[in-house]
Amino acid sequence: MAVDLAADPPAGLSQPSGSVVDQTLAIARRAVVRTTRQRGLIVFPMVFPLILFAINGSALSAATRIPGFPTHNYRDFLIAMPFIQGAMFVSITAGVDLARDIESGFLNRLSMTPVRGEALLIGQLGGAFVLGVVQAIVYLLVGVATGVTFASGVGGALVLLVLSILISFAFASLGVLLALRFGTGEAVQGIFPLLFVTIFLSSSSLPRNLIKAPWFRDVATYNPVSYLLEALRSLVITGWDAQALALGFGFALALLVIALGLAQRAMKSRLTRT
């Protein structure tokens, strides 16, 4: 007989201790503490996109001489990249952390307690959320320090922070979904290259209208990562571009809703005791 512990507890079993909010906060606190204790997990994912930003910001500066390139400073164009790369690293951190809980049996033990599935899911993302916020602030400060200027002003910088944190949270939900589906950290890490490839196959290095190879331009056009990058980039280069922002926020929210929805279903089946 299968007992779904994510649903209301059957008669005779104890009622959940504390509200869903209390449970979520308790799990989130554990996730945040665990993330902040793993310095290797924080420093490398944060530094790697900055190294690429420093190198490619100079190495590709010749691209600004291509007729029609939207800015004279390649770093203005490239600053969106670290935010997306950082978000993908956050997704792996969130996924691997949860996979470790699955592998170590921690999640199984939790399934014997009255903790709700929703609290577990959102709480697990707490560490990823904090990491996403810290990364976004660091990338913004480094960008400004290296001469990136915002056509949309201070307000645009704040919107960029909000959007990048939303993107990090959406990717973290994807990481959690992968962990719940596959159950091992190795599998989550194995999928990371595929996530990273979506950056390469986007408008990350050149605007879509300047991509020469038609097939690559088509792939970049169908790749949602292009719109996440272009929304962040628009705040730096263009100013307030409603269409770019709507597409960026729209795709980030869509990823968040789909990944969280599927993760909730996967969590339910993980917490179902047979």
Binding site: A59, L60, S61, A62, A63, R65, E186, G190, F200, S205
Partner: protein, 256 residues
Amino acid sequence: MSRFLNVARGVAWRSIHNTLVNPAILVPSIIFPLFFLIAFAGGLSRISDVPNFHYAPGYTAFQFVFVFLQSAAFGGVFTGFAVARDFDSGFARRLMLSAPRRSGIIAGYTLGALGRWALTGTVVTIAALIAGMNVFGSGVQLLGLLGLGIAVNLVAALWAVGLAMFLRTEQAGAVIQMPVFVLLFLAPVYVPVSLLTGWIHDVANLNPVTPVLEAGRGLLAGSPVKVAIAFIGLIAAATVLSAFARRGLASAERAG
């Protein structure tokens, strides 16, 4: 000598076998260079329209040489990961107990790295040719390019195997990989060095990878440049890193 060769052959066979039968190792080592080729040659091909960019075979060939040499370097780096994994699992210690000539272990791992790269390099080359890459170099010049790739693979493998033997943990992965990655990307990856500006121009001029990359591009284009400098630099690096790897092995022996 025969004991050295036996150890080297055994370790090399195991390294290549493990790569071929483990998709988690094999697939990323092939997929990553392919995506670099696609992203750089496909996505950045408009870079060739930058004023004063002159490379006769075209941008796909320009990027192919970088990806070809990069895959050679990472064939060596990934072998370092395998060495670290062998120490974590305890296999390396058992191997050192049973090997009659331990220096054969280093030779075996470096041969394994070459075998690993043989597959990746072939796949990348076929992909570039399918993508329409122009090849203007003669047969001898193309052999020269292959020689550069083998030398880069050897140098990277000696670095990675040596460091893995010093550190003896999989957590050393980032330390093994990062210097190679940074050195490669501080070379003129996207445009010739003459078109680089600012600090990256100065760094690229000092970077030992730059003459190797320029020699490779020259050989593919049929107009060799800096070939002697590139090979002398790689031989010198291989000599120094051989000593480094031997010291790494000695360190592992002392650790027991």
